[in-house]
Structures are given as structure tokens and as C-alpha cells.
């Protein structure tokens, strides 16, 4: 059973539609003019709206525009009804975002079929959202604690271990524990920072974004080289790194460029085998600055690229890997903050190419 709002100034037509839909078991609500109709939609949040076009006060097109511009109700499907069987009128409704258009007079069967089609489509979309949300919930429930606990385990474990063995541990044991504690601490710090940066970026309003944009970096090549080399060194893969960079000034803060490059190069190194090349190039043509980062690693399917996002790490079951999918999302958000564009193309088991463009 679905909730359906019917808006039509013709009471007879309204009743006919209500009867047809009630017979199918749907719950109906009706209004005799556009303004009352919109109020009813906002109040009932129905699964479908059926609206006449020619009405006093607000006509069907105006109602449709109001529905599509109100984020609480903008995804509700709308079927327009009209006595005008004219291509232009139908197209106008479709352009404004109508989902179907029935020309009066129509049969009970036509009405029922149009309604069922829209309800089915809505159920499919809802299912799809539910699946995505439940995956997100599952990732937050499983990956988030795992990501925090793994370094925490190392820090606490080695701390206890030093305590347990303080009179028998060799200097080498003590040094090893100290190094593990520092490295796990760094991992935890990065994780916490990323969660905070991500939240800040998500919550920043236009004024804050404008303030964050107000920077000029004279030499991007220097910064990129420094960050990429430091990352590669951490993975002991300096020989795998190739840099071909142009010395271009960019409208971006140094910190943000560092973060973008660091996260993307980290992914390129993490998801490719030692010995395979990671190539970073930048160029400047027609007032556009382009930066590419290419690896020859695991790669991704189109489906995986589509699902990339915060807390959406995939194949967790197959690969022990660090991260929550936050790094890539932060890099993308930072590029967008500075009015750039980030594209990703990837082939499974061939590699991934990230392309970033800024108007310089």
C-alpha cells in the first residue's frame, strides 16, 4: 500500500482517481487546488503525486517546480494530468521533472499502470539506497573499530611488554618496542587527523570555504617532490618513483596540496607491488594545470570507483590494508575546494591513473 496525493480542481475527476487507487489498496489524500496540494504533500510525504495541470492559484507546472525545489519532497515522483494532448505541453512537464503524463480522458487501466510503474521505480531506488546505507553502516561498525584498534593494540601491547620484561629485555628488544610504539602512534594520529579534516570539509560553509581558498603557492613542483619522496621512502620504494613536474604557481595552500599529494601517492604505493613504477607528472597548457599520479597496481572496477567514498573501503575481507577510504575522499574534497577537478580511471590488475586539473 502506498500513500498518494491527488491534486485536481475537478472534484469528479478527483473522486474517480481516488476510487481507482483505493480499489488497489492505496491510501489517498486529495486537494482541489495547487496551494493546498503542496501543503498536503509536505504534511503527508507521499510515495506519489498525481496532479492536474490546469488549476487556479498554482497550476500543475508551478506545483511541480515547487516540489522539485524543496529538498524534503523533491524525489517524490509526479504524474501530470491534462486535457491538452500536445507535444509542447507534455515536453514542458517532462523538462520540469514530471515522471509521467496522462492525457484526459484516460482509462482506469492506464491510470493503474502509470501509478504502479512509478511506485515500482521508487521502491527500486529506495532499495538501492538502503543497500548502500547498510553497507556504510557495516563498514563503520567493522572497519572503524578495526582501524583504531590495530595501532592501539601495538602501542598498549608493547608498553605492557616493556613493563613485563623490564629486567630481562635486551637493548634491541627495547628499541624495537619503542619504534613500534612511535610508528603505531603516527598511524593513529593520521587516522584521527583524517577523521577531523574530513568532518571539517564536510561541514564548512561557503564563507569558510572562501577563506580556505585564499592562497597562492609559487612553486608546486617543490612541494610535490618533497611529499612524494617522503611517502616513497616510508614504503622503501624511492627507486619506484618517477617525477616529471612543471614549476607552476597554483592558487592553493601549501598544506592542502601536501595533503592531496600525500594521500594519493600513499594509495598508489599501498595498492601496487614494490618494483612497479609510480609516475607523477604535471604540466601547464591553456591556463590549465594538470597533475597525474599513475600506478601499476591492483586497480579497481568501475563499480568500485563508483562506490569510493568515506568509510567505503572495499575488499576488506580479502586484503589486510590500512585506511577507511578517507584519504582519497579528503583529497577529492580538497581539490574541489580549490575549484579543481579530480578524475580517476582504473583497470583491475593493470593500474590506476588519477588526474587533477586546476585553472592556474
Amino acid at each position: 500500500m502506498a500513500k498518494i496525493v491527488i491534486i485536481d480542481d475537478d472534484a469528479l475527476m478527483c473522486n474517480m482517481i481516488i476510487e481507482t487507487l483505493a480499489e488497489k489498496g492505496h491510501e489517498t489524500f486529495s486537494a482541489l487546488d495547487g496551494r493546498a496540494g503542496i501543503a498536503l504533500i509536505e504534511n503527508k510525504l507521499p510515495d506519489l503525486v498525481i496532479s492536474d495541470i490546469m488549476m487556479p492559484e498554482l497550476d500543475g507546472y508551478q506545483c511541480l517546480e515547487l516540489i522539485r525545489s524543496n529538498s524534503r519532497i523533491d524525489t517524490i515522483p509526479v504524474i501530470l494530468l491534462s486535457g491538452i494532448n500536445e507535444f509542447g505541453a507534455i515536453r514542458k512537464g517532462m523538462v520540469l521533472g514530471a515522471d509521467d503524463y496522462l492525457v484526459k480522458p484516460f482509462s482506469h487501466e492506464d491510470l493503474s499502470a502509470a501509478v504502479e510503474t512509478q511506485l515500482k521505480k521508487r521502491a527500486l531506488i529506495r532499495n538501492h539506497h538502503e543497500t548502500t546505507l547498510s553497507l556504510l553502516r557495516k563498514n563503520i561498525v567493522y572497519s572503524l573499530p578495526h582501524e583504531f584498534r590495530t595501532p592501539l593494540q601495538l602501542i598498549m601491547g608493547h608498553g605492557h611488554l616493556l613493563d613485563m620484561t623490564y629486567n630481562s629485555a635486551t637493548p634491541v628488544d627495547i628499541q624495537e618496542s619503542a619504534r613500534v610504539i612511535v610508528s603505531a602512534g603516527k598511524r593513529l594520529q593520521r587516522l584521527i587527523e583524517n577523521c577531523l579534516v574530513y568532518t571539517q570539509l564536510e561541514l564548512a560553509d561557503e564563507k569558510e570555504k572562501l577563506a580556505l581558498r585564499n592562497h597562492v603557492l609559487r612553486d608546486s613542483a617543490n612541494v610535490i617532490t618533497e611529499v612524494a619522496r617522503a611517502r616513497a621512502e616510508k614504503y622503501q620504494r624511492l627507486p619506484d618513483l618517477t617525477l616529471e613536474l612543471s614549476k607552476t604557481a597554483l592558487r592553493i595552500s601549501e598544506d592542502d596540496l601536501r595533503k592531496i599529494v600525500d594521500e594519493l601517492v600513499d594509495n598508489a604505493l599501498k595498492f601496487s607491488e614494490p618494483g612497479s613504477q609510480v609516475v607523477i607528472k604535471s604540466s601547464y597548457h591553456d591556463s590549465t594545470y594538470t597533475l597525474t599520479i599513475e600506478d601499476h597496481g591492483r586497480g579497481m572496477t568501475d563499480e568500485q570507483i563508483k562506490n569510493m567514498g568515506a568509510y567505503m573501503q572495499f575488499d576488506r575481507a580479502l586484503f589486510e590494508q590500512q585506511g577507511l577510504g578517507l584519504g582519497f575522499t579528503i583529497a577529492r574534497r580538497l581539490v574541489e575546494l580549490h575549484e579543481g577537478k579530480l578524475d580517476i580511471s582504473s583497470t583491475p590488475n593493470v593500474g590506476t591513473l588519477i588526474k587533477i586539473c586546476f585553472k592556474a
Partner: protein, 128 residues
Amino acid sequence: MSYILLVEDNQANADMMMRILNTHGFEVRHYIKGLDGARAARAERPDVILMDFNLPDIDGRTLVLTLKQQLGGLNSPPIIAVTARTGAMEETLAKRFGCDAFISKPFDPQAFLSMVIQFVERTHARGK
């Protein structure tokens, strides 16, 4: 010497657990992949098996279920789940899949060591 088999996909964690177990003189053999660990367990019959659940090649819980049967059901060496998963439900599930005990990361090394010692002694009392 008592022999502990450790299946854990994170090398840093495995190194730490081995050091904790070495303080008590246990011999530890570590495997990153579940199936390699299972093969070794069938061939060498350890005193205790420590099993992570998030493994690169197979779900740890499913592995415990089959391994427990292959090693003789009730006569199998004890299997302790060592996992980042937490909570009563996870523990109940682990036991239902055949784990004899459950320890959640991060754990206290002393408590971890005591648990392993207790299960090793149980295996020895049973005459392996």
C-alpha cells in the same frame, strides 16, 4: 617445548604476540594466510592455535569450523580467537564456530599470556 601456532595477517601484531609468548619460552610458528596455518596445524599438531578472523585468504571463523573437525573435534588442540572484533555477540559466535576462547584486541599481554598458558596446560594434562 610447547608449540603455539599463530595465524595473524598483520606482521607487527604477530611480532608482538611472538615476543609476549617467547617471554614464557613458548615456540611460536606464525602464518599470515589461514590455509597455510591450517596445513601446518594438521601436520604438526600444536599445543594451542591462536587465530585471527580477518585473514587474507579465508574467513577465520569458517576456517576454525573445519579445522576443529579435522583435528579431532573435542580432542583438537584448543583454538583461541584473537580478533579486533569485540562484544558478547562476537564471542558467542566465535565459540559456536568452535573456538575454545576469545580475546579481543587490544588485549593486556599478561592476560593473553595467562590464557595461553592455561590452555597449553590443559592440552598437556590431556596428553596432547
